[in-house]
Amino acid sequence: MTATITETKTGWPDRINEAARKLTQGYALVVIIAFAASLAVGLLILAALGVSPWQALSVMINGAFGSRMAIGDTLVFMTPRLMTALAALIAIRCGFYNLGAEGQLQLGAVGAVLPATMLPHSLGLLLLPISLISGAIFGALWGLIPAVLKLWRGANEIIVTLMMNFIGIYFVKYLVEGPLQPAGSNFNMSAKIANAAQLPLLLPGTRLHLGAVIAVVTAALLWFLLYHSTFGIRLRAAGLSPRAARLQGMPLSRLILSSMLISGAIAGVGGAIEVLGVQYRLIEGFSSDFGFDGLAVALLGGLEPLGAVIVALYFGAINSGTIALQSVLSIPSAMAMIMSGLPILFLATIQGFRLVKGRK
């Protein structure tokens, strides 16, 4: 305990101020460098595959932003990753390492598909909000379990949330192979949802739906919550320094439970959006690792809502860009995974160097 009582040496506060400011505020620059470097390496890999990097780049940019349809796709691909990123970051900012956005997203999809396929069509436009809210509740309750286990029995949340992802994934598989599979169908998917439960499309001729707006608005709300509400400042204090927060009377357990309810609800809505806006059914494997991508997006975005929006947009663009690469230049879609993985490697490397230098 005594080890923590050490002096920060600041005979020259300005100098150290400066150094600390550089170290923290340089983060945006570091991320930009990481992305630029990973784009460059990605193009080099393409060059090694015998594709002209410039041609590949132009195909990708075209595929991501070149037309109304391309932009729509990019935003559709951005949406689930942004939702899971926001889910991860609100929990992590409270000091709770929620790696379970994937599972909460799966449960959210279940929560949405139940009312959207089973409630009477006569409910009309009410079906959509009911399905979204149901998705949020399913996700929130799934997220509450690891929080309760942690507070009640001290169970390590990293392990619990990670493992619950697989329970969620296989639960969906079970549902679409069994109870939710329409009679006579051989496909691992549920029945189609009611038309009234579908998220409205925003741009004619594109796949862009209201879900993208929901995601961006959620990011804005989360930013407001973190920086302009008493709940947010208490949540951040508890996450950064639980012992100090506790001595000032902050209810740590309640903060963790609330942050996990919010986290699970956001991921759950993310899953609901996939069902109500993209697939119109619950399908086995509908999530291509959105939960895990979201964690990467949250960390690359510096655990800031705005950062998450920007990085999620990049991930969405890579997704639609590499699909174009595949259809135009027949480059395997695994390229997308490489392009999303590289920034993390670069970021970790650059941050590592900065830490080593910063310690000197």
């Binding site: 305990m1 005979g11 020259w12 150290i16 509400s229 008493t230 400042i233 320094s241 100090a244 009377g249």
Partner: protein, 497 residues
């Protein structure tokens, strides 16, 4: 005629920003067989001097003479090759490795074969008088033993000059005594020992030679013998400070009871005795010092008063309480970095952490940043917290400035009681004096101050009453003028009833 110096730093000047030298023309000489203390307030430049000697920084001007010939240390490797060892304030050990593995890792290739067996290492350690279990995992060792491993690393590298940067900050009084015994052995074997510190008592008790640096300039350098504590303080601070003068109360009788603990008990833990059926009252206008060897119930006492712990039996009653039942108390916790501050939130939030959800700082759950900033700037000015503004984080501030934030928040609590736990730990003389002065003023202004500390000098200076804790009980109470011997006897249970 003293022997020729083993190593001399000559006319060292170093500036990190042009025009603001951290060190200005400093010359000091280190001799074999001597413990040489380098004294100075935080930020005086003493650690920079050490780092230059160890090759981590290059001086702008001046150089290093090793037995009369000039050497250049471009990196710590050069310094180690020149038989200089350094024990850093923050240990450079691999925590998951054993003692033996850490030592082999640090040893040069030529020496490594001689450390092949754990028995070799144990024997070597014994030969230096630094017995240690080579098989122990470093992270499981107490800090005093981890420090021993660091010292062994230096000695195995055949260091002739061993540098210590603030070595005693992490040690308790018994460990400090043992530490200096080791240093005396190292020096007696003909090595030169340099200790950077701001703890005066250690210098007076253990060092043969002392150099005082203030704001980058060498103020004095000479034998310790014949110099008094006060001389060093004057050199360090720049003006007279009487470190033994009592901080006086108003002379009036204490007022109403503000805090009352009745027969409280808290279960013991491996590191603490807990509390056993202890009672205590605190009145308006008085400072009550809690003296005792660490681990005799002080932490539990503080947590009870803070409302962070509920007693197994007994009652804690304060004049005023929070809505959730916690006593309303201004708190200065023991661990400034983990309990006192949220180091990565702005100073403004830290200053108002206890009130952040109250009007005018929050309305209907929404933060009022303008009100927070305005009040925080006011508090910062009143408490003389030296920072650019209230939007930077306290992480970058000195310990003294950090503690001013914690104290300002405690004073700003709507409470009649202030409870402090090791309020000056790690602070230099000037910062400590300021904290003590403010606490005394708070009591003189009518508040009740509970002063828990392991620094008996401090307790004796500020307290109106001193209660001695031993094995989880208040075993005695003396008035503020009691003798050190009387208190010391009670602290070790000598006069327990």
């Amino acid at each position: 005629m003293p022997p020729d110096p083993y190593l001399t730093l000559t006319a060292i000047t170093k500036a990190f920003t042009p025009g603001h030298p951290v060190l200005d023309n400093v010359t000091v000489a280190f001799r074999r067989g001597e413990i040489h203390a380098i004294l100075g307030e935080n930020g005086a430049g003493k650690s920079t001097l050490l780092n230059i000697l160890f090759g981590m920084y290059q001086p702008d001007m001046g150089g290093i003479l090793l037995e009369g010939r000039e050497v250049i240390h471009r990196s710590p490797a050069d310094a180690i090759a020149n038989r200089i060892g350094m024990v850093h304030q923050h240990f450079k050990l691999v925590p998951t490795f054993t003692v033996a593995e850490n030592l082999r890792l640090a040893a040069p290739p030529a020496i490594r074969p001689s450390l092949a067996r754990n028995a070799d290492i144990a024997r070597l350690a014994d030969s230096f008088g630094l017995s240690i279990d080579p098989k122990a995992i470093v992270s499981t060792l107490p800090l005093s033993l981890q420090q021993r491993v660091e010292i062994l690393k230096a000695l195995i590298n055949k260091a002739e000059l061993v540098l210590f940067d603030e070595p005693t900050t992490i040690l308790n009084p018994a460990e400090i005594a043992a530490f200096y015994k080791v240093l005396r052995q190292i020096a007696a074997a003909g090595r030169a020992v340099v200790v950077v510190t701001h703890h005066l008592n250690e210098v007076v008790d253990h060092a043969q030679h002392a150099s005082v640096i203030r704001r980058g300039k060498l103020i004095s350098s000479g034998p310790v013998a014949g110099r008094a504590r006060e001389d060093f303080v004057r050199d360090m601070v720049g003006h007279e400070v009487d470190l033994s003068a009592a901080l006086d109360g108003t002379g009036e009788a204490p007022g109403a009871v503000r805090l009352s603990l009745q027969n409280v008990s808290v279960a013991a833990t491996p590191s603490s005795s807990g509390l056993r059926d202890t009672s205590l009252t605190l009145r308006a206008g008085e400072v009550v010092g809690i003296a005792g060897v660490e681990g005799n119930g002080q932490r539990e006492l503080f947590e009870l008063v803070a409302g962070a712990l509920t007693p197994d039996s007994g009652t804690v009653e304060a004049g005023r309480s929070h809505a959730d039942g916690r006593p309303r108390v201004g708190l200065v916790p023991e661990d400034r970095h983990q309990e006192g501050l949220v180091l990565d939130l702005p100073i403004a939030v830290n200053l108002l952490l206890n009130k952040i959800d109250e009007a005018p700082y929050a309305r209907a759950g929404r933060l009022n940043h303008a009100a927070i900033t305005a009040r925080a700037e006011e508090m910062r000015a009143a408490s003389d917290v030296r920072s650019r503004n209230v939007h930077v984080t306290p992480r970058i501030l000195s310990g003294g400035n950090q503690q001013k934030i914690v104290l300002a928040r405690a004073m700003n609590e709507d409470a009649d009681i202030i409870a402090v736990y090791q309020p000056t730990r790690g602070l230099d003389v000037a910062a400590s004096e300021e904290i003590l002065r403010r606490l005394r003023d708070a009591a003189n202004g009518g508040r009740a101050v509970l002063f828990i500390s392991s620094n008996l000098d401090e307790i004796m200076r500020i307290s109106d009453r001193i209660i001695i804790f031993y094995a989880g009980r208040a075993v005695g109470e003396v008035n503020g003028r009691a003798s050190r011997e009387e208190i010391g006897a009670l602290m070790t249970g000598g006069a327990a009833h």
